[in-house]
């Protein structure tokens, strides 16, 4: 890990976005993760996505649980509030925060231990409630901070560092998210920025629960031969179904594509995702097809990636709960406290 304080100065000619900010303005403290950790690439992808989307960092909140992945919010967006909660319970804290103020964007960062084991219940219910947030799992199949135990996403065929066998089936979080009602589900790879950055941008523009399972190898405990979460294994066995382009609201793209080979989907903020389909028959708005696709590749020992499922028609939490447009945390005594005559009426009704 690095232990120096990150210098604040930067080159005066660094490119700036529409807000006049550089990428450095979206960074955080120096990472303390192992050198080469996949998670740092995910943090970099988040920085890149927010920079390109021209997001004001203070209008975004970073939520996490406990574990290596949950430490990462310190390493990006230092001008955003962050909440490093308790193990596996980030979904509930994010839900409460969302109910209080739905005008902020929420990025939840979790790991496979935090989400697929201790926090499996909370994860399921946050998905089912369509909390308006981007939920990223940095998935490495192992417990890093406690030195390399199998996690619940470790494939049954995947061996431990010392050749230990894994007796139990893996949980596929992307498949779970689709089944539980997430309206945006993708899978990426920490080593593939080209795929990951547009997917994060699209997810941040989506209204509703957006889930991205990012395979993010653990260089210390799960990057060996025999592991199915190693850089090498993933590069050989990743099967991308879609290549995703993110198109900002006013941007136009003129490249020609063969008919039927791409779909444009307009997101809630009128930006678009362009899915260049690598399988002409794939329909990303069909949850059953998405599940079948995931399972088909699983059976072949491969991992399906790309934007796997997208439904822009679905409603999110606040709408489902029929709440007022303005954030609840902006309401004061005048809006919240009933008239005193109402209290008198209640007293009378109780006599």
């Amino acid at each position: 890990m690095s232990y120096i304080t990150k210098p604040k100065f930067h080159h005066p000619k660094l490119p700036r976005n529409d807000l006049g900010l550089t990428r450095r303005d979206y960074e955080g403290a120096m990472s303390t993760l192992c050198a080469g950790c996949g998670h740092d690439s995910v943090s970099a992808a988040i920085v890149e996505a927010c920079f390109e989307l021209n997001l004001p960092a203070h209008k975004l909140a970073k939520m996490s649980g406990i574990g290596c992945s949950s430490k990462t919010p310190t390493y990006f967006l230092s001008k955003s509030h962050g909440f490093n909660s308790v193990h596996g319970r980030m979904p509930s804290v994010a839900t409460g925060a969302n109910l209080a103020n739905n005008e902020l964007k929420y990025i939840g960062v979790s790991g496979d231990g935090d989400t697929a084991s201790i926090g499996f219940g909370q994860f399921a219910h946050a998905v089912r409630r369509q909390v308006d947030m981007l939920y990223i799992v940095e998935n490495n199949g192992t417990y890093g901070l406690t030195k390399g135990q199998f996690s619940a996403t470790n494939d049954r065929v995947s061996l431990g560092r010392k050749g230990q066998k894994n007796a139990f089936e893996a949980i596929d979080l992307a498949a779970m998210a689709i089944q539980l009602g997430a309206s945006f589900v993708g899978r990426g790879f920490s080593g593939d920025k080209e795929q990951l950055v547009p997917m994060i941008k699209a997810a941040l523009s989506h209204k509703g629960f957006a889930f991205i399972d990012v395979i993010s190898p653990c260089v210390t405990f799960n990057n060996h031969n025999g592991s199915t979460k190693s850089f090498e294994f993933f590069r050989d066995n990743e099967r991308s179904i879609t290549a995703t382009d993110y198109i900002a609201p006013k941007e136009t793209i003129t490249a020609d594509y063969k008919e039927g080979s791409m779909i444009d989907v307009t997101l809630h903020d009128s930006s678009r995702v362009r899915l260049r389909k690598l399988d002409a028959n794939y329909n990303p708005s069909d949850p059953a097809a998405a599940l079948q696709h995931i399972m088909k590749h699983q059976a072949l020992g491969e991992v399906a990636t790309g934007l796997l499922y997208l439904d822009v028609e679905d409603t999110e939490l606040k709408e489902r709960m029929d709440m007022v447009e303005v954030p609840l945390n902006s309401l004061g005594v005048k809006e919240l406290r009933p008239d005193l005559t109402a209290l008198e009426k209640i007293n009378s009704s109780l006599r």
């Binding site: 004001p56 960092a57 203070h58 209008k59 909140a61 939520m63 919010p73 310190t74 230092s78 001008k79 955003s80 509030h81 962050g82 909440f83 490093n84 909660s85 308790v86 319970r89 979904p91 509930s92 804290v93 994010a94 839900t95 409460g96 925060a97 969302n98 109910l99 209080a100 103020n101 005008e103 902020l104 219940g121 909370q122 399921a124 219910h125 409630r129 709960m321 029929d322 709440m323 007022v324 447009e325 954030p327 609840l328 945390n329 309401l331 004061g332 005594v333 809006e335 919240l336 406290r337 009933p338 005193l340 109402a342 209290l343 209640i346 007293n347 109780l350 006599r351």
Partner: protein
């Protein structure tokens, strides 16, 4: 003739529709201006098991539970033997004489009303025949106890307003019972109800309903909860009142959010997330929920996030007695979570205080940036109490505590989330989204410095932990202080109580007074304890402490926090799941004073 002083108990089968008839009876007495304390003694079950409704009627306003039944309405063959045994000598047994029952006591008076037969003759639908038996015994009681029949009829009309077709058959059923009693018995009995003005402007309400309503007036916008007896009705009352009082007139949309969470962990997590983000949020739970919420409570304590939690205590440990009352979560709540943690507790003693303290709790939570736990119990939460009307000061605003807005952030040189700027141990916070450049911080349960940065420097951690103690000391002056009995400081003996035992203590003091034993009293209303609490104990030679748990938990807390010699505090304990009686308090105090047992036991209840 005994007027306005008796205990009546209804023994029913749960799920048989008796609850509304019994409530009608209690409310009718209340409407006649006579103080009444109805208590449901119910099983953890939906249908078919014995359930009781006990109602103390007392013109002097002594409404704590009292042992010994003057009138038993025995409608349940399953519990018949025990019900008959519970009647005091000279008391009455009202039963359904359609069925022949052997009554082996000759020291009680029996009133047989053929309720089943009367209802079967009058009504044809089976469900009506069943339900109206309950209304018919209320009718009989109106005659036997000389109740104001117009009041009862009026209440039926009120209850079924809008469903007018139901009024006539209900009144019909009332009259069936009433006329039978008038015809076959000498009415009234030598125990009766007489109209009075002892109730004054008081209201009849459950503690949980008052707490839920208090949250509405406190400006709570987010409630996250998981169903658990006996706390469920707090969230339900909040939601019910919000539907009436918190709908945006223009859009018809909600200015609140109620989430039934997947479990208690999630419920408190949502509350912490919402409070962190500047919305007033609360949860309600009971013992098992407290155990589950403990980890999160530690986070809120250490990361200094406001939260309001209602703990409607029930019988423990473990699943315990879910439908009985206790005050046995004091230790679990005061020190909830691992590591050195302490939480502010507030003890309401009646529904009116449930309302007041709900409002107070949100101010305290935000002022102190920590969880506030309101320690109610099943007796208070789920029973209707005769209580003062609910009031709030018209000018009272919300105390949002130390929160910096964008302008204030521009003015401060350096923002440190955990800096003790004012010397009271309470730092300043910001809501997410406030300022583009300043005020962002990282909320964490890991050890942190004054700027919310992660640290493994032990001396920094010590500094933060000591500031938290300092903040807790500041809390002593902000939380509701103790209430003293009127004769305070005249005796060498003191008695401390808290929460619902307040319904029995004044009566116990009266009884002790009659025996020439004078005791000063103090009702504790919160933890941490203020200086007044300590000086009360210091100024009395011997102090009794009334609690409804086995281990004298509040005593441990006092001994521990105020460094008091344990020998000076004599526990007066009751933990059978039923509210403590005045007689029990008196007996145990006398025992503590070394009074002769025979003297103590001399039929105090029956002689009253």
């Amino acid at each position: 003739m005994t007027v306005n002083d008796f205990v009546i108990k209804f023994a029913n089968v749960n799920g048989s529709g008796s609850a509304s008839a019994n409530a009608l009876f209690a409310k009718a007495i209340f409407r006649m201006g006579v103080p009444v304390a109805p208590k449901n003694i119910f099983p953890s079950n939906i249908q078919g098991l014995p359930t009781w409704f006990e109602c103390r009627v007392n013109g002097k306003g002594h409404l704590g539970r009292r042992d010994g039944i003057n009138i038993m309405v025995a409608m349940n063959p399953q519990s018949w033997d025990d019900d008959v045994k519970a009647i005091l000598p000279g008391g009455y047994l009202l039963y359904d004489s359609t069925f022949i029952r052997e009554i082996e006591r000759d020291d009680i008076k029996t009133i047989g009303v053929p309720l089943t037969q009367l209802c079967n003759e009058r009504f044809t639908i089976p469900r009506e025949r069943q339900l109206f038996k309950n209304v018919a015994y209320v009718g009989a009681l109106t005659a036997l106890l000389d109740m104001d029949f117009e009041v009862v009829k009026g209440m039926i009309a009120e209850q079924f307003r809008g469903k007018d077709k139901l009024i006539a058959p209900n009144v019909d059923a009332l009259e069936l019972g009433r006329n039978y009693a008038l015809k076959y018995f000498d009415c009234p009995l030598d125990t009766k109800v007489a109209s009075s003005n002892a109730v004054g402007d008081q209201i009849l309400i459950e503690g949980n309903a008052a707490a839920g309503l208090g949250c509405v007036f406190a400006g709570a916008t987010v409630a996250a909860w998981y169903p658990i007896t006996p706390s469920t009705s707090v969230a339900e009352a909040f939601e019910g009142y919000c539907h009436k009082l918190r709908i945006d007139e223009e859009t018809g949309r909600k200015k609140f959010a109620v989430v039934q969470a997947e479990d208690e962990l999630s419920a408190i997590g949502m509350v912490i997330g919402a409070n962190w983000n500047g919305a007033r949020a609360f949860t309600a739970t009971s013992g098992p929920g407290i155990s589950l919420m403990s980890e999160f409570l530690g986070l809120a304590y250490f990361a200094e996030v406001p939260a309001v939690l209602f703990n409607i205590q029930r019988g423990g440990p473990s699943t315990g007695m879910p439908t009985r009352t206790q005050q046995s979560d004091i230790t679990a709540c005061a020190y909830a979570s691992h590591g050195d943690t302490k939480h502010v507790l507030i003890f309401p003693s009646d529904p009116s205080e449930c309302f007041d303290f709900a409002i107070e709790a949100f101010d305290l939570a935000e002022r102190l940036q920590t969880p506030i736990i309101i320690m109610s119990d099943l007796d208070l939460g789920m029973n209707e109490w005769t209580t003062k009307p609910l009031k709030i000061d018209e000018d009272r605003g919300f105390d949002r505590g130390k929160v910096l807005d964008a302008k204030q952030l521009d003015e401060v040189e350096q923002f440190g989330r955990y800096l003790d700027v004012d010397g009271d141990g309470i730092p300043y916070r910001t809501y997410p989204g406030t300022h583009p450049e300043k005020g962002a911080f990282f909320t964490r349960g890991t050890s942190h410095n004054e700027f919310a940065g992660y640290t493994e420097d032990g001396s920094v951690n010590v500094r933060v932990m000591e500031r938290l103690v300092h903040k807790f000391n500041t809390a002593k002056e902000l939380v509701p202080g103790p209430v003293f009995g009127q004769d305070c400081q005249t005796s060498t003996l003191g008695l401390i109580y808290f929460g619902t035992t307040a319904s029995s203590v004044p009566e116990a003091m009266e009884m002790l007074n009659e025996r020439g034993i004078k005791i000063d009293t103090m009702r504790i209303r919160s933890f941490p304890f203020s200086a007044e609490v300590e000086s009360f104990i210091d100024s009395h030679e011997k102090v009794f402490l009334v609690e409804q748990n086995r281990d004298a938990q509040l005593r441990s807390l006092l001994v521990n926090e105020c460094e008091i010699d344990p020998a000076r505090i004599v526990p007066v304990l009751n933990y059978d799941g039923f509210p403590i009686t005045a007689k029990c308090i008196m007996d145990l105090v006398c025992k503590g004073l070394g009074e002769a047992e025979s003297n103590v036991e001399a039929g105090t209840v029956a002689a009253e």
